[in-house]
């Protein structure tokens, strides 16, 4: 099997006894776009961090590209995008994008070439010398995406990356992200609160429930690719959104996101 991520029997208990994750099993294939959706406290961000080896699971194993998550982290297999862009304010846009390349020991010319490619990809050419505080929230997040993809990680981990953006910017960013995903061919794990976002973006939606954090349903999304404005008006889009909403309702205490 060609699984990029293989999560087997993962549980996570925090100090104080909160069970954030219980018996999670999940395989993610090469090139998939998998969304984790669920109410607050369902452990979706924790699961993302366990995959990225930012948190150790209490039980179970995570295998990435046939390696342990730790080895994968040391091999620079992860690109991470958070809800806030988390750019370094003292660095220009170009230098922010180049940061992981610097740490990986790339030469200056190679870095410059790649940064130019990445800024083309996220349509920020011409903003190389700007500083993060000179950009809008959406532009900052595009820089964060360029930074995460710059070293061609096997896996892109995104933790509610558009959660802080307004609805219109968010929809535009969704469309742009899909374009980037198609071009780069990377595998994406995407945490979100938004049903519409999950349905629009994903090839598969993992619905989680809270206390303890479990996977309650996995819903394949069979909307045609490439997706665009028409996708959001496709009757199938609404059927899938309804399916996800119902799965969230069934999943436990009613704390359902909008």
């Amino acid at each position: 099997m060609n699984a990029v991520v293989d999560i087997a029997g993962v549980s996570k208990e925090f100090k104080g006894g909160t069970v954030a994750l219980q018996d999670i099993d999940l395989q993610i294939e090469q090139g998939e776009f998998v969304s984790l959706i669920g109410p607050s406290g369902c452990g979706k961000s924790t699961l993302l961090r366990v995959i990225g080896d930012l948190i150790d699971p209490s039980r179970g194993t995570v295998t990435v590209n046939g390696k342990s998550a730790r080895q994968a982290r040391h091999d620079h297999d992860y690109g991470i995008v958070f809800q806030d862009a988390v750019l370094y304010n003292w660095r220009s846009v170009a230098k922010n994008v180049a940061l992981p390349l610097e740490l990986a020991g790339w030469s200056r010319e190679r870095r410059q070439k790649r940064v130019a490619e990445m800024l083309d990809l996220v349509e920020l050419r011409g903003f190389e010398d700007h500083h993060p505080w000179q950009l809008s929230g959406g532009m900052q997040q595009r820089v964060a995406i360029a930074r995460a993809l710059s070293f061609e990680p096997a896996l892109l981990l995104m933790d509610e990356p558009f959660g802080a953006l307004d609805e219109m910017t968010r929809e535009r960013m969704n469309a742009e992200l899909l374009g980037i995903w198609e071009q780069s061919g990377s595998t994406v794990v995407f945490v979100t609160h938004s049903i519409a976002e999950a349905v629009f973006l994903s090839t598969r939606i993992v619905v989680m429930s809270a206390r303890p954090g479990r996977i309650s349903r996995v819903i394949p999304v069979d909307l045609p690719q490439p997706r665009g404005t028409a996708t959001r008006e496709d009757p199938r889009f609404f059927e899938l959104a309804t399916e996800v909403r119902e799965a969230l309702h069934l999943g436990g205490p009613l704390e359902v996101p909008a």
Partner: protein, 296 residues
């Protein structure tokens, strides 16, 4: 977080205007202070005030007399006062600069060590804080005895001992700011570094140190002026007569005859402190790139 994209170069005309209105403001405040001093003096003398102190031409010389004193000769055959004071200021500046540098480096090292070990932080921080409750005048004799005794293998000249005393005042703000600044990085920025498998040193230099810089410069501004104070105070226990501390002691003795000379010395000392402060501000402008809303 800025949500508006800023395009195009900064409007230089606006910058010039801002500097202009700032100088104007400074001038207005200076005039107001001058007016307050002279007004209080006039009222005090006119009505014979004895509270909060007896107001007479000795306790409150005219401000123009203080400035005029700078361009007079305290001794008929000696140099102008301003020449004497500028020489003294140069000497004190040398002590203060070395003290500032030693304090900054030492304070940064202490802060960095404490930031990286919780045990050291708990064990040592109280003593670092306690060190500042000991007055510099109590430390001074020890520094003089330890470091200026010519029979010691390691001994320094008196002005370096003054610098050591000044550094005692300057290291503290830097140590505390370094400790705070190195721990101020956003936890997701740290996670990001972790996801790149960055080691401790890389995280320190690429993330924690740049994050700490604004904190560090705030502390350096305090230290810059404190180093002048430390150097001036340190000159008396080390018996240095050539600096501003010596000048202050000297003119304090003759205060009842020539009060304006001590005030003139204070003006030069204040100017030196401001010069040090501005040097740090200038360095900050060069080093720290900050969001416009933080540029003050």
């Amino acid at each position: 977080m800025a949500s508006v994209a800023v395009e195009g170069p900064v409007d230089r005309g606006a910058g010039v205007k801002r500097v202009g209105s700032r100088s104007m403001l400074l001038l207005v405040v200076a005039c107001a202070l001058w007016g307050a001093w002279e007004g209080f003096r006039w009222l005090g003398i006119h009505y014979g005030w004895t509270r909060p102190f007896t107001v007479d031409p000795t306790s409150m010389p005219h401000i123009h007399d203080m400035f005029r004193a700078l361009f007079e000769r305290p001794n008929a055959d000696g140099p102008l006062l301003i020449v004497t004071l500028l020489k003294a200021a140069g000497f004190t500046a040398k002590e203060a600069a070395l003290g500032f540098a030693m304090g900054a480096v030492g304070g940064f090292a202490i802060g960095a060590v404490l930031a990286h070990s919780r045990i050291l932080q708990r064990g040592l921080l109280p003593y670092v804080v306690a060190s500042q409750t000991v007055p510099i005048l109590a430390i001074a004799p020890m520094v003089v005895i330890w470091f200026t005794n010519p029979s010691s293998t390691f001994h320094v000249t008196a002005w370096v001992a003054v610098a050591i005393l000044a550094s005692y005042l300057t290291f503290f703000p830097v140590a505390i700011a370094t400790l705070r600044g190195l721990q101020a990085a956003d936890h997701r920025a740290v996670e990001l570094m972790r996801s790149y498998a960055a080691g401790r040193w890389t995280v320190l230099w690429k993330l924690r140190f740049p994050t700490a810089l604004p904190y560090l410069f705030s502390a350096l501004k305090i230290s810059a002026t404190a180093s002048i104070v430390g150097a001036i105070i340190g000159e008396s226990p080390t018996s240095i007569a050539g600096g501003l501390g010596g000048a202050i002691l000297n003119f304090a003795q003759y205060y009842s005859f020539q009060p304006q000379n001590l005030w003139a010395t204070n003006i030069v000392a204040a100017a030196l402190g401001i010069a040090f402060f501005l040097a740090v501000v200038g360095a900050e402008r060069l080093v720290v790139r900050r969001a416009p809303e933080h540029v003050g």
